[in-house]
């Protein structure tokens, strides 16, 4: 038993090392191809993301929505669904939050309005995910295409709002709606670049997700159905309904991330409000191997890449999309190494 564990640990270490080696040798070759010094590039990314407290605060600002979306994705991945529609769910959350704030700006009572907007965002994101879920369980549409389609529809809706009913007076522009008054910003502490409430909420969601997945029937049902829907059905679960529940939870958390983008980052609704976090969080969860413990560090690492890579154009005239190349190649390398290890295992 002990020995088997030792071998397992060793093989995990070997796999992780192989993954890192594969991914970073690829990105290094890519950087060399672009004719720039790879070490300097990596150095600038590190310095630009954790070089000062200000930078760390910026990383945390990206970390919050990534963690929220990734936690939501845990439910859907557990139940065996590929919820590619997070992006749209973030957008709908942002729209709902904006709607409440616009309405509430006249009403007053900022704290109440802010809380209400968070609730609305979760509800709206959840419903948007529910739509994909219903298309999957009742309409026979693969959740990938349902989610993707709804992402584009969400973009259509947000554009229509920004161009139409919610445009700035006399202006039709991609630059978004009129910014909200300061009392409708998520409160922050003087000198901080990140709202402590947001940080606390992200940590709270992380703990809550862990607790839900581990101790409640939701987690158990998701795990069971994801691994064997037929047996789960025979053991008394209703897979379709649980799938909808999982989608709603994922959508709700994505919606919360959308509200965060509006309340704490942009203070208005912009077309790119989701900032690609929906897609990025899918990568985070895949790299985390669908386990909640790995989400905070990986999300932090990805956020650091996003923030740190802004140094590349400033310092080296390099394009900052290197961050995405690193993120993608890490996940790809994980998939390849994992598949290869399984193949070897099967062969032996």
């Amino acid at each position: 038993m002990q020995r088997a564990k030792g071998i397992e640990v060793k093989s995990v270490v070997v796999q992780v090392a192989a993954t890192l080696a594969l991914a970073f040798s690829f990105t290094t070759v890519v950087v060399l191809l672009s004719g720039e010094p790879p070490l300097a590039a990596y150095g600038h990314i590190v310095a630009g993301s954790v070089g000062s407290w200000l930078k760390v605060a910026q990383v945390l600002r990206v970390w919050v929505p990534l963690v929220l979306c990734s936690c939501g994705l845990l439910y859907t991945f557990q139940i065996g669904l590929w919820n590619i529609g997070v992006e749209g769910q973030v957008i709908l959350g942002a729209i709902a939050a904006t709607a409440v704030l616009r309405w509430g700006a006249a009403v007053g009572a900022p704290t109440g309005i802010l809380s209400l907007s968070l609730l609305a965002a979760m509800g709206c994101g959840g419903l948007w995910a529910l739509a994909a879920g219903i298309l999957k369980t009742r309409g026979g549409v693969n959740e990938i295409f349902a989610g993707l389609g709804l992402n584009f529809v969400a973009v259509g809706i947000i554009l229509w709002l920004i161009f139409g009913p919610w445009k700035r007076p006399g202006i039709a522009s991609m630059s978004g709606t009129e910014p909200f008054a300061r009392e409708l910003w998520l409160p922050t502490v003087a000198g901080w670049r990140i709202s402590p409430y947001a940080l606390a909420a992200a940590l709270g969601v992380l703990v809550l997700t862990w607790w839900t997945l581990k101790y409640t029937r939701v987690g158990l049902a998701c795990r069971a159905i994801g691994r064997n829907p037929h047996a789960s059905f025979l053991l008394g679960l209703r897979p379709d309904r649980w799938m909808l529940v999982a989608m709603m939870l994922a959508g709700g958390l994505a919606g919360l991330a959308g509200a965060y983008q509006v309340l704490a980052v942009y203070h208005r609704l912009i077309p790119a409000i989701s900032s690609n976090y929906g897609y990025l969080s899918l990568l985070v969860v895949m790299l985390a191997n669908y386990r909640w413990v790995w989400i905070p560090p990986i999300a932090f690492f990805f956020a650091a890449l996003n923030v740190g890579s802004i140094q590349l154009p400033m310092m080296l005239q390099m394009d900052s999309s290197l961050a995405g190349v690193i993120q993608g190649s890490l996940v790809l390398a994980t998939l390849v190494v994992h598949g290869w290890a399984r193949r070897r295992q099967r062969a032996s």
Binding site: T216, G219, R227, N228, H230, L235
Partner: protein
């Protein structure tokens, strides 16, 4: 073509499906392979056709040792096989199915190949429309097409794996006629079957397999009793029976018809009493699987209704049946009954504990501990179920049954279990029936049915052809009914 198989072994992981099989088939004969479910017939045939690779052994064609690495190589040597699960392409047309795998070059000359197909079909009196989608054909017609395709490919040895299941008597006649004609023309034919009557009508010689070994060989004319004995083994000594007297009616079928399996279920009316142990015998797919699923509410009848305690259950789903005391255990344990990746405790938390929002993990763990001990499951509550052996998986499934179910439906409950486990399991189940549970179970093994059941239903082609109490049950009569020779069936 003269075929000789020597000492063929085949392992599927731990499963030893063929255990040193020797077989000789003479040129120009029709040779039957008989055996119960899981005897290893298909495995042997697939090895001969190159579809799977043998673990060890030797194949001689006309005295020459050969090795096939894939079906293409076997096909080039003149071996063609009609697989048990049809390996054809329903969305493509008849002609496309015919051409696929034998056209050389780039162009598909529809006209040329169509003519060839028609010519061959005429030779055997088959009626096939080359341009119809294959999906619109009956099983029998699909078989005919496959046969023509193999012949057109130049097959000299034809292997047919259970060709008579799911086809009509008329088509069966057409098929047999064609096979006999082929044998006369010098082709060798290997037919795999469960059914003695088919073999009697067709074969010159049979080989009988049981649990991966050859148990007998015989030339025509055959003695069906000997064949049955070889197939199913000798009937065992008197089994321990449930002591309980039968009570009132619990479950009833009234003129139920349904689709599913090979034969579906046709117009079935039958009822069961409290405390009965009923064995459902029959070849796989003869209707007993559909029957159990209907009784569990997993499938809805096309016609008729299932009654539970006198209540019409039309419109109710499985969960409703479950609430009313029906429990169903499927055959495929890991595929349908258990959840790989979840631990034993988690299974109890799902199935056997209070359905509260917070999972009562402590209760589940306690429950798991006691049941692991009581059911002698080799594992700890934390063991994930795919790490359990087949027998232990079965014990776990049993341990998940709620305390005193009204009706217990078991699909092949002892498949893959060793004798000791099987006995232990029945002891436990019969204990349940002492408390008034009605048990319905299907089994491929007649011995098992005779051992524990106090009532036997035999299914053939979607109908119950024999319904007798254990006292009246005599293995020969049941065996004959299984093979479609029920004296009192139509």
């Amino acid at each position: 073509m003269h075929i000789q198989l020597k000492e063929i072994h085949k392992f599927y992981g731990p499963v030893h499906a063929n255990q040193g099989i020797d077989l000789t088939v003479d040129s120009g004969t029709i040779h039957g392979i008989l055996g119960e479910n899981g005897a290893g017939k298909s495995t042997l045939m697939k090895i001969l056709a190159g579809y799977i690779q043998k673990s060890s052994g030797e194949i001689l064609l006309d005295g020459q040792a050969v090795e096939f690495r894939n079906p293409a190589m076997a096909s080039r040597m003149g071996i063609g096989m009609l697989y048990q699960d049809p390996l054809d392409f329903p969305p493509l047309t008849v002609l496309e199915n015919f051409m696929l795998g034998q056209v050389q070059g780039t162009r598909l000359s529809q006209a040329g190949w169509g003519a060839k197909l028609q010519e061959l079909a005429q030779h055997f009196d088959f009626q096939l429309d080359p341009h119809a989608p294959l999906a619109t054909l009956t099983v029998g017609e699909r078989q005919q097409l496959e046969l023509l395709r193999l012949l057109s490919l130049g097959a000299r040895l034809l292997i047919l794996d259970e060709p008579t299941t799911g086809i009509s008597p008329v088509q069966k006649q057409v098929l047999f006629h064609a096979l006999k004609k082929l044998a006369r023309e010098g082709k060798t034919v290997l037919v795999v079957s469960h059914k003695i009557e088919d073999v009697e009508a067709l074969c010159d010689r049979v080989t009988i397999l049981r649990q991966g070994r050859v148990t007998g060989e015989m030339d025509a004319p055959f003695d069906s009793e000997t064949i049955l004995a070889h197939m199913f083994g000798t009937p065992p000594v008197a089994p321990p029976k449930c002591a309980k007297e039968a009570g009132g009616e619990v479950l009833a079928f009234r003129q139920v018809s349904a689709q599913g399996g090979r034969a579906g279920l046709k117009d079935c009316t039958v009822s069961f009493q409290r405390g009965q142990v009923v064995g459902l015998a029959g070849l796989e797919g003869s209707g007993q699987g559909v029957f159990l699923r209907l009784a569990a509410g997993l499938q809805r009848p096309l016609k008729g209704a299932v009654f539970l305690d006198g209540r019409d259950m039309r419109g109710a789903d499985h969960h409703e049946f479950k609430r009313r005391g029906v429990t169903f255990l499927p055959t495929a344990r890991l595929e349908e009954g258990l959840i790989p990746g979840l631990s034993i405790t988690e299974h109890f938390a799902l199935a056997a504990c209070r359905q509260t929002f917070l999972v009562p993990w402590l209760d589940a763990l306690k429950e798991a501990r006691t049941r692991v001990e009581r059911f002698k499951i080799r594992g700890t509550p934390e063991t994930s179920v795919e790490g359990l052996s087949g027998g232990n998986q079965q014990r776990l499934l049993l341990s998940l049954i709620p305390p005193s179910p009204k009706v217990l439906l078991l699909e092949q409950p002892t498949r893959g279990l060793d004798v000791e486990s099987a006995h232990w399991m029945w002891q436990h189940l019969l204990g349940l029936c002492d408390q008034g549970t009605t048990i319905l179970f299907s089994s491929a093994e007649l011995d098992e049915i005779l051992m524990v059941a106090d009532r036997v239903l035999v299914f053939f082609n979607g109908r119950i052809v024999l319904d007798v109490t254990a006292a009246q049950a005599d293995p020969e009569r049941i065996g004959a009914a299984i093979a479609g020779r029920a004296p009192d069936s139509e």
